[in-house]
Symmetry: C2
Subunit: 250 residues, 2 copies
Protein backbone atom coordinates (compact mmCIF):
# COMPACT_ATOMS: atom_id res chain seq x y z
CA UNK A 1 0.00 0.00 0.00
CA UNK A 2 1.49 3.27 -1.13
CA UNK A 3 1.14 6.25 1.12
CA UNK A 4 2.06 9.95 0.81
CA UNK A 5 1.97 12.30 3.79
CA UNK A 6 3.90 15.32 2.59
CA UNK A 7 2.89 18.01 0.15
CA UNK A 8 6.59 18.21 -0.73
CA UNK A 9 6.48 14.75 -2.28
CA UNK A 10 7.40 14.99 -6.00
CA UNK A 11 4.26 13.13 -7.14
CA UNK A 12 2.04 15.53 -5.23
CA UNK A 13 3.93 18.47 -6.70
CA UNK A 14 3.35 17.06 -10.17
CA UNK A 15 -0.36 16.42 -9.54
CA UNK A 16 -0.87 19.90 -8.12
CA UNK A 17 0.23 21.23 -11.51
CA UNK A 18 -2.88 19.58 -12.97
CA UNK A 19 -4.93 22.29 -11.26
CA UNK A 20 -3.80 24.69 -14.02
CA UNK A 21 -4.64 24.48 -17.71
CA UNK A 22 -0.97 24.66 -18.68
CA UNK A 23 -0.10 21.87 -16.28
CA UNK A 24 -2.86 19.67 -17.68
CA UNK A 25 -1.84 20.26 -21.27
CA UNK A 26 1.81 19.52 -20.57
CA UNK A 27 0.99 16.29 -18.77
CA UNK A 28 -2.02 15.31 -20.93
CA UNK A 29 -3.77 14.40 -17.70
CA UNK A 30 -6.38 15.94 -15.45
CA UNK A 31 -7.57 15.53 -11.90
CA UNK A 32 -11.08 14.85 -10.68
CA UNK A 33 -12.35 15.14 -7.15
CA UNK A 34 -15.20 13.74 -5.10
CA UNK A 35 -16.85 10.35 -4.57
CA UNK A 36 -19.52 10.81 -7.22
CA UNK A 37 -17.20 11.90 -10.04
CA UNK A 38 -14.60 9.23 -9.25
CA UNK A 39 -17.34 6.61 -9.15
CA UNK A 40 -18.63 7.75 -12.57
CA UNK A 41 -15.09 7.63 -13.97
CA UNK A 42 -14.60 4.06 -12.70
CA UNK A 43 -18.03 2.84 -13.85
CA UNK A 44 -17.49 4.27 -17.32
CA UNK A 45 -13.94 2.96 -17.78
CA UNK A 46 -12.25 6.35 -17.99
CA UNK A 47 -8.46 5.99 -18.38
CA UNK A 48 -7.63 6.42 -14.68
CA UNK A 49 -3.92 6.33 -13.82
CA UNK A 50 -3.99 6.91 -10.06
CA UNK A 51 -6.59 6.93 -7.33
CA UNK A 52 -5.80 9.06 -4.28
CA UNK A 53 -7.70 8.40 -1.08
CA UNK A 54 -7.52 10.35 2.15
CA UNK A 55 -6.90 8.04 5.09
CA UNK A 56 -10.01 9.19 6.93
CA UNK A 57 -12.73 8.35 4.46
CA UNK A 58 -14.69 5.22 3.60
CA UNK A 59 -14.76 4.25 -0.04
CA UNK A 60 -16.76 1.65 -1.95
CA UNK A 61 -14.88 -1.68 -2.30
CA UNK A 62 -15.02 -1.39 -6.11
CA UNK A 63 -12.72 1.62 -5.96
CA UNK A 64 -9.61 -0.43 -5.24
CA UNK A 65 -10.04 -3.23 -7.78
CA UNK A 66 -9.09 -1.30 -10.93
CA UNK A 67 -5.83 -1.51 -12.85
CA UNK A 68 -4.72 1.92 -11.62
CA UNK A 69 -2.41 2.61 -8.72
CA UNK A 70 -4.05 3.40 -5.37
CA UNK A 71 -2.26 5.81 -3.02
CA UNK A 72 -3.37 6.85 0.43
CA UNK A 73 -2.82 10.49 1.28
CA UNK A 74 -2.85 12.63 4.41
CA UNK A 75 -5.45 15.30 5.14
CA UNK A 76 -2.85 17.95 4.40
CA UNK A 77 -2.15 16.50 0.95
CA UNK A 78 -5.87 16.19 0.32
CA UNK A 79 -6.37 19.89 1.05
CA UNK A 80 -3.47 20.83 -1.21
CA UNK A 81 -5.00 18.99 -4.18
CA UNK A 82 -8.56 20.20 -3.60
CA UNK A 83 -10.36 23.02 -5.38
CA UNK A 84 -13.42 22.84 -3.13
CA UNK A 85 -13.96 24.31 0.31
CA UNK A 86 -14.69 21.02 2.03
CA UNK A 87 -12.99 18.20 0.18
CA UNK A 88 -14.24 14.62 0.33
CA UNK A 89 -10.63 13.45 0.08
CA UNK A 90 -11.01 11.25 -3.03
CA UNK A 91 -9.21 12.10 -6.27
CA UNK A 92 -8.35 10.43 -9.54
CA UNK A 93 -5.68 11.33 -12.04
CA UNK A 94 -7.09 10.64 -15.50
CA UNK A 95 -5.50 10.62 -18.95
CA UNK A 96 -6.79 13.00 -21.62
CA UNK A 97 -9.23 11.09 -23.74
CA UNK A 98 -11.06 12.97 -26.43
CA UNK A 99 -13.44 10.31 -27.66
CA UNK A 100 -14.26 9.88 -31.30
CA UNK A 101 -17.66 9.52 -32.82
CA UNK A 102 -18.83 8.24 -36.21
CA UNK A 103 -20.85 11.03 -37.78
CA UNK A 104 -23.05 8.43 -39.48
CA UNK A 105 -24.27 7.22 -36.08
CA UNK A 106 -25.19 10.69 -34.83
CA UNK A 107 -28.84 11.55 -34.37
CA UNK A 108 -28.54 14.64 -32.16
CA UNK A 109 -25.49 16.75 -31.40
CA UNK A 110 -24.63 20.05 -29.71
CA UNK A 111 -22.05 22.44 -31.15
CA UNK A 112 -20.55 25.04 -28.79
CA UNK A 113 -19.01 28.20 -30.23
CA UNK A 114 -16.85 30.12 -27.73
CA UNK A 115 -18.75 29.17 -24.59
CA UNK A 116 -16.45 30.68 -22.02
CA UNK A 117 -17.93 29.98 -18.62
CA UNK A 118 -16.92 26.54 -17.27
CA UNK A 119 -20.20 26.25 -15.34
CA UNK A 120 -22.20 26.84 -18.53
CA UNK A 121 -20.14 24.38 -20.59
CA UNK A 122 -20.40 21.70 -17.90
CA UNK A 123 -24.14 22.22 -17.46
CA UNK A 124 -24.71 21.95 -21.23
CA UNK A 125 -22.76 18.67 -21.33
CA UNK A 126 -24.90 17.35 -18.43
CA UNK A 127 -28.13 18.37 -20.19
CA UNK A 128 -26.97 16.93 -23.53
CA UNK A 129 -26.38 13.60 -21.77
CA UNK A 130 -29.79 13.75 -20.05
CA UNK A 131 -31.62 14.67 -23.26
CA UNK A 132 -30.06 11.74 -25.14
CA UNK A 133 -27.70 13.68 -27.38
CA UNK A 134 -24.89 11.68 -28.97
CA UNK A 135 -22.02 14.12 -28.63
CA UNK A 136 -20.93 17.65 -27.74
CA UNK A 137 -18.53 19.44 -30.08
CA UNK A 138 -16.34 22.17 -28.57
CA UNK A 139 -15.29 24.76 -31.13
CA UNK A 140 -12.35 27.11 -30.75
CA UNK A 141 -12.60 29.65 -27.94
CA UNK A 142 -14.50 27.29 -25.64
CA UNK A 143 -13.32 27.00 -22.05
CA UNK A 144 -11.16 24.07 -20.98
CA UNK A 145 -13.15 20.84 -20.60
CA UNK A 146 -10.76 19.67 -17.89
CA UNK A 147 -11.12 22.77 -15.73
CA UNK A 148 -12.34 21.65 -12.28
CA UNK A 149 -15.47 23.79 -12.48
CA UNK A 150 -16.40 22.41 -15.92
CA UNK A 151 -15.93 18.84 -14.71
CA UNK A 152 -17.97 19.41 -11.54
CA UNK A 153 -20.80 21.03 -13.52
CA UNK A 154 -20.99 18.01 -15.85
CA UNK A 155 -21.80 15.89 -12.76
CA UNK A 156 -19.99 13.01 -14.47
CA UNK A 157 -21.61 13.35 -17.89
CA UNK A 158 -18.18 13.90 -19.45
CA UNK A 159 -17.73 10.14 -18.92
CA UNK A 160 -21.05 9.33 -20.60
CA UNK A 161 -20.98 10.96 -24.02
CA UNK A 162 -18.20 11.87 -26.44
CA UNK A 163 -16.96 15.44 -26.08
CA UNK A 164 -14.87 16.42 -29.06
CA UNK A 165 -12.75 19.44 -29.90
CA UNK A 166 -13.25 20.38 -33.51
CA UNK A 167 -13.58 23.00 -36.19
CA UNK A 168 -17.25 24.07 -36.23
CA UNK A 169 -17.20 25.16 -39.87
CA UNK A 170 -16.09 21.67 -40.87
CA UNK A 171 -18.56 20.03 -38.51
CA UNK A 172 -21.51 22.01 -39.86
CA UNK A 173 -20.54 21.19 -43.44
CA UNK A 174 -20.18 17.50 -42.67
CA UNK A 175 -23.38 17.30 -40.64
CA UNK A 176 -25.35 18.87 -43.49
CA UNK A 177 -23.88 16.39 -45.95
CA UNK A 178 -25.07 13.66 -43.61
CA UNK A 179 -28.62 15.15 -43.79
CA UNK A 180 -28.49 16.24 -40.17
CA UNK A 181 -30.37 19.53 -39.89
CA UNK A 182 -28.22 22.23 -38.30
CA UNK A 183 -30.09 24.80 -36.18
CA UNK A 184 -28.20 27.98 -35.36
CA UNK A 185 -29.33 30.29 -32.55
CA UNK A 186 -29.62 33.99 -33.35
CA UNK A 187 -31.81 36.97 -32.63
CA UNK A 188 -31.92 38.31 -36.18
CA UNK A 189 -32.95 36.41 -39.30
CA UNK A 190 -34.29 33.64 -37.10
CA UNK A 191 -37.70 32.26 -36.19
CA UNK A 192 -39.19 31.17 -32.85
CA UNK A 193 -38.02 27.62 -32.20
CA UNK A 194 -41.57 26.36 -31.69
CA UNK A 195 -42.37 27.25 -35.31
CA UNK A 196 -39.67 24.93 -36.63
CA UNK A 197 -40.79 21.57 -37.90
CA UNK A 198 -39.35 18.70 -35.91
CA UNK A 199 -36.81 16.38 -37.49
CA UNK A 200 -35.28 13.09 -36.36
CA UNK A 201 -31.64 14.10 -36.77
CA UNK A 202 -30.44 17.57 -35.86
CA UNK A 203 -27.64 19.69 -34.45
CA UNK A 204 -27.97 22.78 -32.22
CA UNK A 205 -25.29 25.47 -32.43
CA UNK A 206 -24.96 27.66 -29.33
CA UNK A 207 -22.75 30.72 -28.95
CA UNK A 208 -20.76 32.91 -26.65
CA UNK A 209 -22.42 34.29 -23.50
CA UNK A 210 -22.04 37.91 -24.61
CA UNK A 211 -21.85 37.84 -28.38
CA UNK A 212 -23.79 34.77 -29.45
CA UNK A 213 -22.77 32.57 -32.39
CA UNK A 214 -20.22 33.86 -34.89
CA UNK A 215 -21.91 35.26 -38.00
CA UNK A 216 -19.84 33.16 -40.40
CA UNK A 217 -21.23 30.05 -38.75
CA UNK A 218 -24.82 31.33 -38.71
CA UNK A 219 -24.54 31.89 -42.45
CA UNK A 220 -24.01 28.19 -43.19
CA UNK A 221 -26.65 26.61 -40.91
CA UNK A 222 -29.89 25.15 -42.30
CA UNK A 223 -32.09 27.35 -40.15
CA UNK A 224 -31.67 29.80 -37.29
CA UNK A 225 -34.03 29.90 -34.32
CA UNK A 226 -34.55 31.92 -31.16
CA UNK A 227 -36.32 31.49 -27.85
CA UNK A 228 -38.91 34.27 -27.48
CA UNK A 229 -38.29 36.68 -24.60
CA UNK A 230 -41.69 37.76 -23.31
CA UNK A 231 -40.70 39.78 -20.23
CA UNK A 232 -38.07 42.45 -19.56
CA UNK A 233 -35.01 40.16 -19.30
CA UNK A 234 -32.46 40.84 -22.02
CA UNK A 235 -31.53 37.24 -22.58
CA UNK A 236 -31.47 33.74 -21.14
CA UNK A 237 -28.48 32.08 -19.56
CA UNK A 238 -26.91 29.96 -22.34
CA UNK A 239 -27.11 26.78 -20.25
CA UNK A 240 -30.85 27.32 -19.79
CA UNK A 241 -31.30 28.20 -23.48
CA UNK A 242 -29.49 24.99 -24.41
CA UNK A 243 -31.89 22.96 -22.25
CA UNK A 244 -35.00 24.66 -23.63
CA UNK A 245 -33.86 23.93 -27.21
CA UNK A 246 -32.60 20.38 -26.63
CA UNK A 247 -35.95 19.35 -25.16
CA UNK A 248 -38.05 21.74 -27.23
CA UNK A 249 -36.73 20.60 -30.62
CA UNK A 250 -36.80 16.87 -29.68
Amino acid sequence: MKRIDSIQNPSIKAWKKLLTKKGRENAKKYIIEGLHLVEEAIKNDAPILHLLICEEIDIPATFTTGSYEVTYISKEVSKALSETETTQGVFAIVEFDFMRVDIKSIKKVILLDEIQDPGNAGTIIRTADAAGFDAVILGKGCCDLYNGKTIRSTQGSLFHIPIIRGDLHEWITNLKQENIKVFGTALEGAKPYKESSKVERFAILLGNEGNGVNKELLAITDENVYIPIVGKAESLNVGVAAGVLMYGLS
Copy 2:
Protein backbone atom coordinates in the same frame (compact mmCIF):
# COMPACT_ATOMS: atom_id res chain seq x y z
CA MET B 1 -20.45 66.36 -3.78
CA LYS B 2 -19.86 63.82 -1.07
CA ARG B 3 -16.68 61.83 -1.14
CA ILE B 4 -15.29 58.96 0.96
CA ASP B 5 -11.67 57.84 0.69
CA SER B 6 -11.16 55.68 3.73
CA ILE B 7 -12.40 52.19 4.43
CA GLN B 8 -12.48 53.26 8.09
CA ASN B 9 -15.33 55.67 7.38
CA PRO B 10 -18.40 54.68 9.45
CA SER B 11 -20.72 54.61 6.41
CA ILE B 12 -18.39 52.26 4.59
CA LYS B 13 -18.17 50.05 7.66
CA ALA B 14 -21.97 49.94 7.79
CA TRP B 15 -22.29 49.17 4.06
CA LYS B 16 -19.67 46.41 4.26
CA LYS B 17 -21.98 44.66 6.71
CA LEU B 18 -24.50 44.33 3.87
CA LEU B 19 -22.19 41.71 2.35
CA THR B 20 -23.49 39.26 4.99
CA LYS B 21 -27.03 37.94 5.34
CA LYS B 22 -27.21 38.98 8.98
CA GLY B 23 -26.07 42.49 8.13
CA ARG B 24 -28.68 42.78 5.39
CA GLU B 25 -31.46 41.57 7.63
CA ASN B 26 -30.52 43.91 10.46
CA ALA B 27 -30.39 46.92 8.14
CA LYS B 28 -33.23 45.85 5.82
CA LYS B 29 -31.01 46.93 2.96
CA TYR B 30 -28.79 45.24 0.39
CA ILE B 31 -25.99 46.22 -1.91
CA ILE B 32 -25.77 45.75 -5.67
CA GLU B 33 -22.70 46.09 -7.82
CA GLY B 34 -21.95 46.78 -11.45
CA LEU B 35 -23.13 49.15 -14.16
CA HIS B 36 -25.78 46.83 -15.58
CA LEU B 37 -27.46 45.98 -12.27
CA VAL B 38 -27.42 49.57 -11.03
CA GLU B 39 -28.87 50.72 -14.34
CA GLU B 40 -31.67 48.15 -14.07
CA ALA B 41 -32.39 49.26 -10.48
CA ILE B 42 -32.63 52.91 -11.56
CA LYS B 43 -34.73 52.18 -14.65
CA ASN B 44 -37.18 50.09 -12.64
CA ASP B 45 -37.52 52.52 -9.73
CA ALA B 46 -36.02 50.24 -7.09
CA PRO B 47 -35.87 51.98 -3.68
CA ILE B 48 -32.25 53.12 -3.96
CA LEU B 49 -30.87 54.98 -0.93
CA HIS B 50 -27.28 55.65 -2.00
CA LEU B 51 -25.28 55.44 -5.16
CA LEU B 52 -21.53 54.89 -4.77
CA ILE B 53 -19.27 55.68 -7.68
CA CYS B 54 -15.55 55.10 -7.91
CA GLU B 55 -13.76 58.27 -9.00
CA GLU B 56 -12.18 56.62 -12.01
CA ILE B 57 -15.20 55.44 -13.93
CA ASP B 58 -17.57 57.04 -16.39
CA ILE B 59 -21.27 56.69 -15.62
CA PRO B 60 -24.38 57.50 -17.64
CA ALA B 61 -25.75 60.99 -16.88
CA THR B 62 -29.06 59.48 -15.73
CA PHE B 63 -27.28 57.90 -12.77
CA THR B 64 -26.96 61.15 -10.84
CA THR B 65 -30.46 62.56 -11.32
CA GLY B 66 -32.31 60.30 -8.86
CA SER B 67 -33.57 61.22 -5.40
CA TYR B 68 -30.87 59.12 -3.72
CA GLU B 69 -27.59 60.40 -2.34
CA VAL B 70 -24.53 60.10 -4.61
CA THR B 71 -21.14 59.52 -3.00
CA TYR B 72 -17.81 59.28 -4.76
CA ILE B 73 -15.46 56.63 -3.40
CA SER B 74 -11.78 55.78 -3.75
CA LYS B 75 -10.47 52.66 -5.46
CA GLU B 76 -9.59 51.22 -2.06
CA VAL B 77 -13.17 51.67 -0.80
CA SER B 78 -14.50 50.20 -4.03
CA LYS B 79 -12.39 47.07 -3.55
CA ALA B 80 -13.54 46.73 0.04
CA LEU B 81 -17.22 46.74 -0.98
CA SER B 82 -16.82 44.44 -3.97
CA GLU B 83 -17.55 40.72 -4.14
CA THR B 84 -16.13 40.33 -7.63
CA GLU B 85 -12.53 39.94 -8.75
CA THR B 86 -12.49 43.00 -10.97
CA THR B 87 -15.02 45.52 -9.74
CA GLN B 88 -16.55 48.13 -12.04
CA GLY B 89 -16.66 50.52 -9.09
CA VAL B 90 -20.40 51.26 -9.14
CA PHE B 91 -22.65 50.26 -6.24
CA ALA B 92 -26.12 51.02 -4.97
CA ILE B 93 -27.53 50.55 -1.50
CA VAL B 94 -31.15 49.47 -1.89
CA GLU B 95 -33.97 49.05 0.61
CA PHE B 96 -35.62 45.65 1.04
CA ASP B 97 -38.71 45.63 -1.10
CA PHE B 98 -40.68 42.42 -1.28
CA MET B 99 -43.26 43.33 -3.89
CA ARG B 100 -46.86 42.22 -3.62
CA VAL B 101 -48.92 40.64 -6.31
CA ASP B 102 -52.68 40.21 -6.71
CA ILE B 103 -53.27 36.49 -7.15
CA LYS B 104 -56.24 37.27 -9.42
CA SER B 105 -53.91 38.88 -11.94
CA ILE B 106 -51.51 35.91 -12.06
CA LYS B 107 -51.37 33.82 -15.20
CA LYS B 108 -48.07 32.01 -14.65
CA VAL B 109 -46.01 31.70 -11.49
CA ILE B 110 -42.98 29.76 -10.21
CA LEU B 111 -42.87 28.32 -6.69
CA LEU B 112 -39.43 27.45 -5.26
CA ASP B 113 -39.15 24.93 -2.44
CA GLU B 114 -35.76 24.96 -0.68
CA ILE B 115 -33.66 25.97 -3.68
CA GLN B 116 -30.34 26.44 -1.93
CA ASP B 117 -27.84 27.51 -4.56
CA PRO B 118 -27.86 31.29 -5.15
CA GLY B 119 -26.82 30.79 -8.79
CA ASN B 120 -29.76 28.46 -9.40
CA ALA B 121 -32.28 30.76 -7.69
CA GLY B 122 -31.02 33.80 -9.61
CA THR B 123 -31.04 31.96 -12.94
CA ILE B 124 -34.63 30.76 -12.35
CA ILE B 125 -35.72 34.36 -11.61
CA ARG B 126 -34.04 35.51 -14.83
CA THR B 127 -35.74 32.77 -16.86
CA ALA B 128 -39.14 33.43 -15.23
CA ASP B 129 -38.82 37.06 -16.30
CA ALA B 130 -37.80 36.08 -19.85
CA ALA B 131 -40.61 33.53 -20.19
CA GLY B 132 -43.23 36.08 -19.13
CA PHE B 133 -44.04 34.68 -15.70
CA ASP B 134 -45.82 37.05 -13.32
CA ALA B 135 -44.01 36.24 -10.07
CA VAL B 136 -41.58 33.96 -8.27
CA ILE B 137 -42.55 32.67 -4.81
CA LEU B 138 -39.70 31.70 -2.48
CA GLY B 139 -40.77 29.12 0.11
CA LYS B 140 -38.96 28.44 3.34
CA GLY B 141 -35.44 27.04 3.05
CA CYS B 142 -34.66 29.00 -0.13
CA CYS B 143 -31.38 30.85 -0.29
CA ASP B 144 -31.24 34.59 0.38
CA LEU B 145 -32.57 36.67 -2.52
CA TYR B 146 -30.22 39.50 -1.59
CA ASN B 147 -27.05 37.38 -1.62
CA GLY B 148 -24.64 38.91 -4.15
CA LYS B 149 -24.46 35.75 -6.21
CA THR B 150 -28.26 35.45 -6.42
CA ILE B 151 -28.57 39.08 -7.51
CA ARG B 152 -25.83 38.76 -10.14
CA SER B 153 -27.44 35.60 -11.54
CA THR B 154 -30.79 37.36 -11.95
CA GLN B 155 -29.04 39.83 -14.30
CA GLY B 156 -31.45 42.50 -13.05
CA SER B 157 -34.65 40.46 -13.32
CA LEU B 158 -35.25 40.90 -9.57
CA PHE B 159 -36.23 44.47 -10.52
CA HIS B 160 -38.63 43.27 -13.24
CA ILE B 161 -41.02 40.83 -11.60
CA PRO B 162 -42.34 40.43 -8.04
CA ILE B 163 -40.33 37.99 -5.92
CA ILE B 164 -42.25 37.06 -2.82
CA ARG B 165 -41.40 35.10 0.31
CA GLY B 166 -44.35 32.96 1.28
CA ASP B 167 -45.72 29.72 2.65
CA LEU B 168 -45.94 27.30 -0.28
CA HIS B 169 -48.72 25.23 1.24
CA GLU B 170 -50.89 28.35 1.46
CA TRP B 171 -49.87 29.50 -2.01
CA ILE B 172 -50.75 26.17 -3.62
CA THR B 173 -54.13 26.13 -1.88
CA ASN B 174 -54.90 29.69 -2.95
CA LEU B 175 -53.70 29.18 -6.54
CA LYS B 176 -55.94 26.14 -6.92
CA GLN B 177 -58.93 28.09 -5.61
CA GLU B 178 -58.13 30.66 -8.28
CA ASN B 179 -58.28 27.88 -10.93
CA ILE B 180 -54.57 28.16 -11.60
CA LYS B 181 -53.28 24.64 -12.32
CA VAL B 182 -50.39 23.72 -10.04
CA PHE B 183 -47.76 21.41 -11.58
CA GLY B 184 -45.39 19.73 -9.13
CA THR B 185 -42.12 18.18 -10.30
CA ALA B 186 -41.36 14.64 -9.14
CA LEU B 187 -39.85 11.40 -10.38
CA GLU B 188 -42.53 9.10 -8.94
CA GLY B 189 -46.27 9.33 -9.50
CA ALA B 190 -45.66 11.84 -12.25
CA LYS B 191 -45.97 11.92 -16.03
CA PRO B 192 -43.69 13.29 -18.76
CA TYR B 193 -44.37 17.01 -19.03
CA LYS B 194 -45.05 16.79 -22.78
CA GLU B 195 -48.05 14.56 -22.07
CA SER B 196 -49.74 17.23 -19.97
CA SER B 197 -52.45 19.24 -21.65
CA LYS B 198 -51.59 22.93 -21.88
CA VAL B 199 -53.53 25.46 -19.84
CA GLU B 200 -53.62 29.25 -19.86
CA ARG B 201 -52.93 29.76 -16.17
CA PHE B 202 -50.50 27.56 -14.28
CA ALA B 203 -47.89 27.33 -11.54
CA ILE B 204 -44.68 25.25 -11.55
CA LEU B 205 -43.32 23.99 -8.24
CA LEU B 206 -39.58 23.22 -8.21
CA GLY B 207 -37.62 21.65 -5.39
CA ASN B 208 -34.32 21.32 -3.64
CA GLU B 209 -31.20 20.43 -5.68
CA GLY B 210 -30.63 17.15 -3.86
CA ASN B 211 -34.02 16.09 -2.52
CA GLY B 212 -36.58 17.58 -4.89
CA VAL B 213 -39.93 18.97 -3.76
CA ASN B 214 -41.21 18.12 -0.27
CA LYS B 215 -43.71 15.24 -0.37
CA GLU B 216 -46.38 17.14 1.57
CA LEU B 217 -46.41 19.75 -1.18
CA LEU B 218 -46.44 17.20 -4.01
CA ALA B 219 -49.53 15.66 -2.40
CA ILE B 220 -51.61 18.80 -2.87
CA THR B 221 -50.65 19.79 -6.44
CA ASP B 222 -53.05 19.27 -9.36
CA GLU B 223 -50.61 17.16 -11.33
CA ASN B 224 -46.96 16.13 -11.05
CA VAL B 225 -44.67 16.02 -14.08
CA TYR B 226 -41.09 15.08 -14.90
CA ILE B 227 -38.60 15.75 -17.66
CA PRO B 228 -37.56 12.43 -19.22
CA ILE B 229 -33.89 11.52 -18.81
CA VAL B 230 -32.85 9.61 -21.93
CA GLY B 231 -29.11 9.27 -21.36
CA LYS B 232 -26.97 8.29 -18.38
CA ALA B 233 -27.16 11.57 -16.44
CA GLU B 234 -28.89 11.16 -13.09
CA SER B 235 -30.71 14.47 -13.22
CA LEU B 236 -30.85 17.94 -14.72
CA ASN B 237 -29.60 21.10 -13.06
CA VAL B 238 -32.69 22.65 -11.44
CA GLY B 239 -32.17 25.95 -13.27
CA VAL B 240 -32.18 24.10 -16.59
CA ALA B 241 -35.20 22.01 -15.57
CA ALA B 242 -37.04 25.21 -14.66
CA GLY B 243 -36.35 26.64 -18.13
CA VAL B 244 -37.41 23.47 -19.95
CA LEU B 245 -40.72 23.44 -18.04
CA MET B 246 -41.45 27.17 -18.21
CA TYR B 247 -41.12 27.15 -22.00
CA GLY B 248 -42.35 23.58 -22.46
CA LEU B 249 -45.62 24.04 -20.59
CA SER B 250 -46.32 27.50 -22.12
